[in-house]
Subunit: 246 residues, 2 copies
């Protein structure tokens, strides 16, 4: 049995649920996880409400090797992620001495006030480790298998770059795409037969539609290069057998 490592993501923020901000972090995390061989299995978008964050963190950290959160770690009153994650782990949320000192020095060097709001960003669950933030200093943190990162995409991406080398990664899921000039209605039957014949592959069928025309992208995934090649060849032969390509 191949070692499968799974992950989940929690996107925290009323602004995503209201449509005001369009999330750009889910797709990025999905791409990165796929690239390093970790299966992203679930994403939840939750509001800025403690009970909802606690419930999502506890549900997902028990089920997956890793949980990644974005959002809610800034300095304002609606940034309640650190407190909520601390509550989920049953530990206090306190000023982290190292983060506090680092941020105090940072603002002093710039002649900026280290306001109470900014100090909030030095709070984290007791026992958490920093995730460095090369963009705007205030760190994210990891506690247990939960990685807490910023929602601003540039900062999230920079933090994630620092997290990736610390993760245990699995055997990468390989993939091959076969373009099919027909809609799914034509290929559904034979494709199901190919899926049955190659049980250690996952064959996905993704319908596309534009300007009145349907086509399909067929994606074969497997952790075995041999199975991938054989199933891809079968899918390609099926498509070729359907008639001339458009």
């Amino acid at each position: 049995m191949t070692d499968i490592i799974t992950a989940a993501m929690i996107v925290i923020g009323d602004e995503i649920l209201s449509g005001r901000t369009k999330d750009r972090n889910i797709g990025h995390l999905a791409d990165v996880m796929t690239a390093i061989g970790i299966d992203l299995k679930e994403v939840r978008i939750v509001p800025d409400e403690e009970d909802e964050i606690v419930a999502a963190v506890n549900a997902l950290r028990a089920r997956h090797a890793y949980v990644f959160t974005t959002g809610g770690i800034g300095p304002t009153h609606d940034d309640i992620t650190a407190d909520s994650v601390a509550k989920a782990f049953g530990v206090p949320c306190e000023y982290d001495a190292r983060a506090y000192a680092m941020m105090e020095a940072h603002y002093a060097a710039r002649d900026m006030e280290f306001t109470e709001a900014r100090k909030r960003m030095a709070r984290m669950p007791v026992g958490a480790e920093h995730i460095d933030n090369p963009v705007s200093l205030a760190p994210g943190f990891r506690i247990g298998n939960v990685h807490v990162m910023a929602g601003v995409p540039a900062i999230f991406q920079a933090m994630l770059d620092n997290v990736v080398p610390t993760l245990r990664t699995g055997v990468k899921l390989l993939s091959r795409t076969v373009h099919c000039p027909f809609g799914e209605g034509v290929i559904g039957g034979p494709l199901a037969d190919i899926q049955k014949a190659f049980p250690d592959t996952i064959i996905g069928s993704y319908p596309k539609y534009q300007d009145g025309t349907f086509w399909t992208e067929l994606v074969v995934r497997s952790r075995s290069p041999e199975s991938l090649a054989a199933a891809t060849a079968a899918v390609q032969a099926m498509v070729d057998g359907l008639g001339p390509r458009s």
Copy 2:
């Protein structure tokens, strides 16, 4: 107490979790819900796995007035949404006579074979009602408070347009945005005080970062036009009091 109507969304599909397809439906649903006065409170992205879909449908349909799903209603073997939703409701998933007849006539008129795969798209939980699909005919469906729609954005949007007039809508959450040329660290304290002074508003603070500069968009939301105006004025006064705008 104002009548608050809440909703949740379930995005179904391995292709979103692998990063191969970037979701475009969450933001659209969020925008539409906000426009019609329904609060989207949670989104879950789940894989093409029956247990996961059933669990998400049952968790969310019990908690919210409406649930909207996208994805997994096409003709291929990985399209298991209809079966999974039927299982969640404890009813059989069968060919719907009206959908079957409509699709049969549609393909006959075009001299196209009504394949087994295409027939799959006429299956739905017993007792479900159609959601018309003006793009590619095969309908979505509603059962109980769960609305099952396509994942292809053009089709999802067309189906949602047909669903919206059937929904009970709430008092619309109004919003006003105040641009703040400062980062959150400066405003966090006073903003929290304004939030406390206007308990029937929700004041969100959304940090922005580009090319080394931080700024913030402050969004005041309320169902009361009077509270909205008063809280927005207080936020604007706070920003103006911080110094010249950039």
